[in-house]
């Protein structure tokens, strides 16, 4: 039962992440929704899988996958946003502040 609830929460957050990916205006904001919602969604699904299978090899494997996803997705987000800025992706027109511009040159 608890496994089903966790997996449902995970799927729900993944859907939110995907909606954000479509609705938000520029690369930077899209990455925000893509990393945060999808990471918690995947972690929740993995936790649900761990509870579903009980103590055993699947349990330890899914628990180990959680920190791997955490570190890889944060590092990937950082690499993508850094790359996007240096490639010259435009910030959205609602942007209020850009301290980074002066430091790059």
């Amino acid at each position: 039962m608890i496994a089903v609830i966790l997996i449902c929460i995970g799927v729900l957050f993944n859907i939110f992440g995907c909606i954000g990916l479509i609705r938000l205006p520029d690369v930077y904001n899209r990455l925000q929704s893509a990393t945060k919602c999808v990471t918690l969604g995947c972690c929740s699904i993995l936790l649900g899988a761990a509870f579903h299978f009980g103590i055993g090899d699947a349990f330890f494997k899914s628990l180990l996958a959680i920190p791997i996803i955490f570190f890889s997705s944060t590092v990937a987000a950082h690499a993508l946003i850094h790359g996007a800025y240096h490639f010259g992706a435009k910030l959205d027109k609602r942007t209020v502040k850009d301290d980074y511009k002066d430091s790059v040159k």
Binding site: C37, L91, V96, K97, K101
Partner: protein
């Protein structure tokens, strides 16, 4: 010394991940962790005896609780901004100063910032972190520095430095 520690850690990790204690599996794991230790050992923490100090694990647990709470809050925050019809966003890149010194601590701080409400680390130059913020709440550098890094910095300092 740090090469040996990294080797042992990656071997334990491999055995947990594959979860079989057969001879071929152990041999493959030994070779793989040997290669890992050889290539990535120089990025590992210099003083491995810090791994044996129990108070660091206590702070790690406290940090994990704070971090998971912040992470869940982050998700509801982003989900709210995404689902709201008018999309209340006010993005910007702000400069934040950090007091942490070691590379590992800064990496951990940058990762934590990426997972907290509406912020992604763009770059680190010197002592300054550049953070993309989906909703800039304040114009005062002191205030937003405290809002972004204040929650994690003291725990990370206790864990790593």
């Amino acid at each position: 010394m740090k090469y040996i520690t990294l080797f042992i850690l990656s071997l334990v990790f491999w055995l947990l991940l594959t979860f079989k204690l057969t001879l071929p599996n152990i041999i493959v794991g030994t070779v793989a962790s040997g290669i890992c230790a050889l290539f990535f050992g120089r990025f590992f923490i210099t003083n491995v005896y810090k791994l044996l100090q129990p108070q660091r694990y206590f702070w790690l647990l406290v940090y994990l609780v704070v971090f998971i709470w912040e992470c869940i809050k982050a998700n509801f925050d982003v989900a709210y901004r995404v689902l709201h019809p008018a999309m209340p966003i006010k993005p910007g890149i702000v400069k934040v100063k950090t007091t942490l010194n070691s590379e590992l601590a800064r990496t951990l701080l940058a990762n934590s910032i990426t997972m907290t409400p509406g912020t992604i680390t763009v770059d680190i130059i010197g002592d300054n972190l550049f953070v993309h913020w989906i909703y800039v709440r304040s114009d005062n550098p002191d205030v937003y520095t405290r809002m972004i890094t204040g929650k994690f910095e003291k725990y990370i300092k206790n864990i790593i430095e």
